[in-house]
Symmetry: D3
Subunit: 313 residues, 6 copies
Amino acid sequence: MAQWDIQHVMLDLKQARQDWRKSQQRLREMGGRELPSKQQLKNILNQLCGILFPMRLGPADLRQETEDHYIAYSLDRVLSDLLQQVKLTLAYRQKYHQAIDTGTVSQSDWQNNLSRHAEDIVQDFANNLAKIRRLIDADVAAAYRGDPAAHSVDEVLLCYPGIFAMIYHRISHQLYPDVPLLSRVISELAHSATGIDIHPGAQIGQGCFIDHGTGVVIGETCIIGERVRIYQAVTLGAKRFELTEAGQLKKDYARHPIIENDVVIYAGATLLGRITIGEGSTIGGNVWLTHSVPANSSIMQSPTASQQKSKST
Amino acid sequence: MAQWDIQHVMLDLKQARQDWRKSQQRLREMGGRELPSKQQLKNILNQLCGILFPMRLGPADLRQETEDHYIAYSLDRVLSDLLQQVKLTLAYRQKYHQAIDTGTVSQSDWQNNLSRHAEDIVQDFANNLAKIRRLIDADVAAAYRGDPAAHSVDEVLLCYPGIFAMIYHRISHQLYPDVPLLSRVISELAHSATGIDIHPGAQIGQGCFIDHGTGVVIGETCIIGERVRIYQAVTLGAKRFELTEAGQLKKDYARHPIIENDVVIYAGATLLGRITIGEGSTIGGNVWLTHSVPANSSIMQSPTASQQKSKST
Amino acid sequence: MAQWDIQHVMLDLKQARQDWRKSQQRLREMGGRELPSKQQLKNILNQLCGILFPMRLGPADLRQETEDHYIAYSLDRVLSDLLQQVKLTLAYRQKYHQAIDTGTVSQSDWQNNLSRHAEDIVQDFANNLAKIRRLIDADVAAAYRGDPAAHSVDEVLLCYPGIFAMIYHRISHQLYPDVPLLSRVISELAHSATGIDIHPGAQIGQGCFIDHGTGVVIGETCIIGERVRIYQAVTLGAKRFELTEAGQLKKDYARHPIIENDVVIYAGATLLGRITIGEGSTIGGNVWLTHSVPANSSIMQSPTASQQKSKST
Amino acid sequence: MAQWDIQHVMLDLKQARQDWRKSQQRLREMGGRELPSKQQLKNILNQLCGILFPMRLGPADLRQETEDHYIAYSLDRVLSDLLQQVKLTLAYRQKYHQAIDTGTVSQSDWQNNLSRHAEDIVQDFANNLAKIRRLIDADVAAAYRGDPAAHSVDEVLLCYPGIFAMIYHRISHQLYPDVPLLSRVISELAHSATGIDIHPGAQIGQGCFIDHGTGVVIGETCIIGERVRIYQAVTLGAKRFELTEAGQLKKDYARHPIIENDVVIYAGATLLGRITIGEGSTIGGNVWLTHSVPANSSIMQSPTASQQKSKST
Amino acid sequence: MAQWDIQHVMLDLKQARQDWRKSQQRLREMGGRELPSKQQLKNILNQLCGILFPMRLGPADLRQETEDHYIAYSLDRVLSDLLQQVKLTLAYRQKYHQAIDTGTVSQSDWQNNLSRHAEDIVQDFANNLAKIRRLIDADVAAAYRGDPAAHSVDEVLLCYPGIFAMIYHRISHQLYPDVPLLSRVISELAHSATGIDIHPGAQIGQGCFIDHGTGVVIGETCIIGERVRIYQAVTLGAKRFELTEAGQLKKDYARHPIIENDVVIYAGATLLGRITIGEGSTIGGNVWLTHSVPANSSIMQSPTASQQKSKST
Amino acid sequence: MAQWDIQHVMLDLKQARQDWRKSQQRLREMGGRELPSKQQLKNILNQLCGILFPMRLGPADLRQETEDHYIAYSLDRVLSDLLQQVKLTLAYRQKYHQAIDTGTVSQSDWQNNLSRHAEDIVQDFANNLAKIRRLIDADVAAAYRGDPAAHSVDEVLLCYPGIFAMIYHRISHQLYPDVPLLSRVISELAHSATGIDIHPGAQIGQGCFIDHGTGVVIGETCIIGERVRIYQAVTLGAKRFELTEAGQLKKDYARHPIIENDVVIYAGATLLGRITIGEGSTIGGNVWLTHSVPANSSIMQSPTASQQKSKST
């Protein structure tokens, strides 16, 4: 059996960690981990899918007679699991972004406040679940209407990555104002599963249909209206990044497109900056667009741009 | 321990479900779930990979001496598992698309007919497994020949997402005429794992090599010849969707490209509509193409289209 | 219970395998499987992530007080697991690429040599772990600096697919010269999870930030400098493949771009061939580039190329 | 890697199986397995314990607010699982004990009859669950009253092997008349876990307390009254086995003791044959008893029987 | 798919639970479960065995070079898991046995006190682990010395149920004064695995060897000296149970035997009541003993008691 | 989060381990663990049960058509797993019991010899599997004939702990001469599951039926004839232990009973020492017997020994 020079490697890694912590002003011991868990959130989202769509995404042996019981029981468990993750996220934010003013707040009061805050967030999330379900129902109906290859609404719910991404987005978006880090983990779970990268901050109206979806990027401050259709590899991004006077990136300002109702954006189109795409417009495939267009515009890539050197014989 | 207002949320969700079912004319109780299971199909496909390539994708401790026994035993189990999923899919289709004419067919006869039909489908699938293996062997050989970075055929089988996608496609394509919904679930499993989205209806000849593959979309009615090479982010899509006289999407008509033998399509090219790319043609990267081209064409993006504002100093 | 014609299918599959083995000159029995295991490597990489970043990617209940113990214990196990995979890979290469000259080397000496070689590789890998950690720390810091949506370095480590891909790449790159097949499996694990396809041979300097990342392809012989920023769907590929005099693909020659320090490449840009992008240059979105550009160039797609047929009303 | 002479061993085993099947007149092929599954029944019993005692043996994160929902949902699933096992058991019995008279009953009618019968058995079982719960409550109360070491009724339910055995017995006894083989599997699960071997046929009144329990044997035709206390290693067995005129064992006749109300039987006592222990009697430790005793008897082992050769110094 | 009358059964079970809770004065809602978890404690004990004997009961791939690291890391985790179970047990006891005087102690102070108490218990337990290890080492050595069938001390540790039972007992005995319910769960885990039923309250000196062990019962108030040997089916029990003036069982008084140093008790012997077996005595198989004996006694069953009706021919 | 004084406890445990190793002359480092694994052997025995009785103890979805394939494939895997355990056991014995004479045997020759030896043991074991199957078939038939409560041979195989114990014994007995430690682990697995403790060295003829079985002990040097019936709590043990001249236990000499053909031994009987029970004898319940009896003896406990103080009223 081989013997590794474990001690040496361990010490090298320790030094690397210390250098990092020093560079991040984190030399004080933190005790336990205070970050939400990717695996836990994956389980929670799986459960929530079953609760939202019990007969289609719930357990295979569920029967309609007991679906309410299943929902009540599972919901109680999944909300408690979510509560744990929300608490971790809140505690992380407080430790990372602001020192606890130990002079004015006791450790146990701090803990109690954090718990109450977390419970409010989770209850509020629960109260919005039926609203989320209705939004996704509209997304499913839109996909069925919009894709000639779709043979039933159930196929859409079961198979379409765009719907998967919308379920995850509508959940993460609901949680975003309170626990942004947790929401980002959820959106990355969807990104990894579908190739569709929707920032949890993006506001998306009902009946949104993303087809195929691989490579779609929708930025943090996007506002998307109702009944919008988006194809694979579409980017709704920032044009350039503004700097603060200190020369650092400005964060958290409106820098992504506004897409009004009933817009269609074909595959590979790139829309950058705080521009507005007017209601009912169509943006063609591979178009590169950095300025606003009025309602009912139809923007296409120049047909002459390609095909120059056709040398058919 | 926090207490959630479960009852309230449960009733809201119930109302949302009822509204959906009402909108879909599904108010009658359905009993159990009649949809194929993603997780089950994932397991089945994993098993089938091991059966097709026992020494390379089968269990790590398998030895060549017993590979036939492994195949016989595993095949018996996996076909029974597949039978279950096929039955669910058939039953779903019958319930969803057409009412059972209870006047002419008894419940038990219906069940028997469905079982017999499902068994025929699965036996037929089994009979085609060796053909599928030979097709994928040709795909592997093509990838090895076509990629300077490939060092062995086994590396290709083990590592290339394009091969993964082709295995899944050749399986789902075989099942597509009988159980399209089930085939769609299989193709989405491959899409999620590889970023390559091939509709199970697409007809693909032998020796097809998709390199890198992320973002590739191949539509339902595509016909692809032999020895075709396709790079990442290539779209073989529909140009526009035709409407029926009632103003709804026409479904199931030929609307995707025909790619003849020995064509190469470079990364990011977008080919739309029922066009034909003649034998031996080369389509350059990022090309946008909506009309047919004759054999041996070479279509490239205009070199002047980019690089306008080079301001090197 | 249905009965399948197992015997028949089994024999068909056997014939298909034999035809393949014959075509590959592999008719001699091989005994057991000698290929690295995807699942094993997935577990190993998971463990290595926990060892590199114990408090953020390690087990949820780990505490800072015992992180060194956790690392020492886990490292010992994971290096032994890796040793297994390295041995399989070495044995595969020797069997596949060169016959064992049984005249000069005994079976047991061969085994011993292989073991010693494998142990050297793994020890060398272990010795480089701290260096890898420091490189990734720089990548994380670069991502935090470069993305206005990033709210903390921990969010970057936890959520950014570009960081996930860089961790896997820096590990697979370290192993690439000795066990290229194993490295390829690792890079495909990252590709499948993130949509970012970095060949393990690519050389990437510190502080590399790949944002969103879906569809990024970085070829085998790329050389990327420090502080480079790359957006989704960027291809750093080969322009064309050279053939040997025998008419087969030339393998293993420099055929991908060199990207110098501080370059930014926006979404969808395609850079092909052994070109050099000079220090500090900016390559715009969707640009198609096949020649070198000097330092501080700014290459943009022609604004007139798209938007030709705007027909707003 | 070692190579075993698999073929040879496989054929030897085949011959051994054929010899056995020939000796049992089972040479006809049976198709699939038609025996209840130990592992399945273990899961089912685990679930039933949680349904009977949700807050004490149910899932750790269950809360009283949702216990009814938990029960309704779990019960639906567990009854379906049980139905499967009941069907297997019925089918086995019919195949093993009596040939199907194919002349009078069609295969599909036979299947339907069997299903209906199985459903009746399971529904009847479900209807008796509350009765079973009440019986076990009485057993728990009796144990708490009867053991000075017991500190709470919950400790009794959680820790006492006698209670574990009684839960399993009361369930298996309920099922015994219809599916005796299945009941025997259940009783052996309890025997293996506790060392208490109660035949599912035994009739046991309420408030039965078996303390420590290892080695207790209670035979098939025992009748035990209310509030009986039994200690470890007590045997309530048959005295001798009667033979039929053909010289084979007579099966299924009353051959085990009747224990009337409020009897106490101390450790190691052996009671054999169809004897009656009168109400309120006490049977001492290690007593060997093969005749009936009237009410309120106190039977003790002779104190002089042991201790003969005390050679204390 | 069968449909059960779930609603009806659910309501019957609810009524049964309410009747029980009423009979136990527990009608107030309790919220969550506050009982230690059998499964959790099973995992904890498994871990503790690995920590106490890393190279023999620890993970199979552990190596001596890293055993300290393994212990430190595992211990930290297992103590936290144990802390959870201790807290549940303390909370249960307080709720069950005594009302919280809400007038004098706030809910949050109560929680803090409970946490502090639990942490003290667990730290104290940790501090005693090395002492426990030494005791078990002496038990192992005694078994090796005492059994002609034992070929090595490692065989004893690995295979002897008596040693398994002693490991569990020495752990549960350490925890008994503080969390008796939790200790009882641990002792029942050992009872179920070995058939040896040692109450956690029993005091057992070092070098105790229980051979075979099935059916051994050692009562709560037993005191056992050093180097005692006990064979299968030995009972060290209470003779009779005393009643309080109220006619209920007296609990918690000395009622089991005292066994002095170097005593041997052969299989099936029954020793009842608060008697003392003097140092160095031998108690023969199946002996029934209810009075004290002086040092060096040898108590045997009368040889004439059996073998009366030898009718050899 | 609580913080434990891990460092202190770790060092205490280290000291305890060192004291033990010193007392056992094991201060040299051993590297990895060289003991068979309980969990691995449990899995191996489970597999072997399925291979011996495929349609009754094999996987639930196995069908008779493919049972040979199942056996061939599983056998290959399970023999390789067993080989691992045999190697560990052989290496342990050589290290523990005899120093490797490094002067005459090289490390690599030693390894090769050990491997060859292990392979011979496993191949020999495989060759005897059919014989073992036939022996157990006879045990099953004997149990069915001997128990009025048995309704079919399948019930016996599925439910009778005596059969479970005999399967394990016949396997462990086969391996005992070569790898006794491994055999002891197997027999303890059966002991834990059934309460029946059969030493792997015991020789047991065909058609042996152990009913109920809890508490049965059968010693290392027992010789049991054919068609013997044994009830619960029977001990076939050693009478006293002989000492060597050095005052230590003599090991490995014949010290347990010889039971000739067709003997019946009723519950609780204790037979001690190298005595012979003549063919066809019956030993009554609770009998204590330490001398040989001739053929056809009937030994019963004195009826007057108990029941002295009957005080029926």
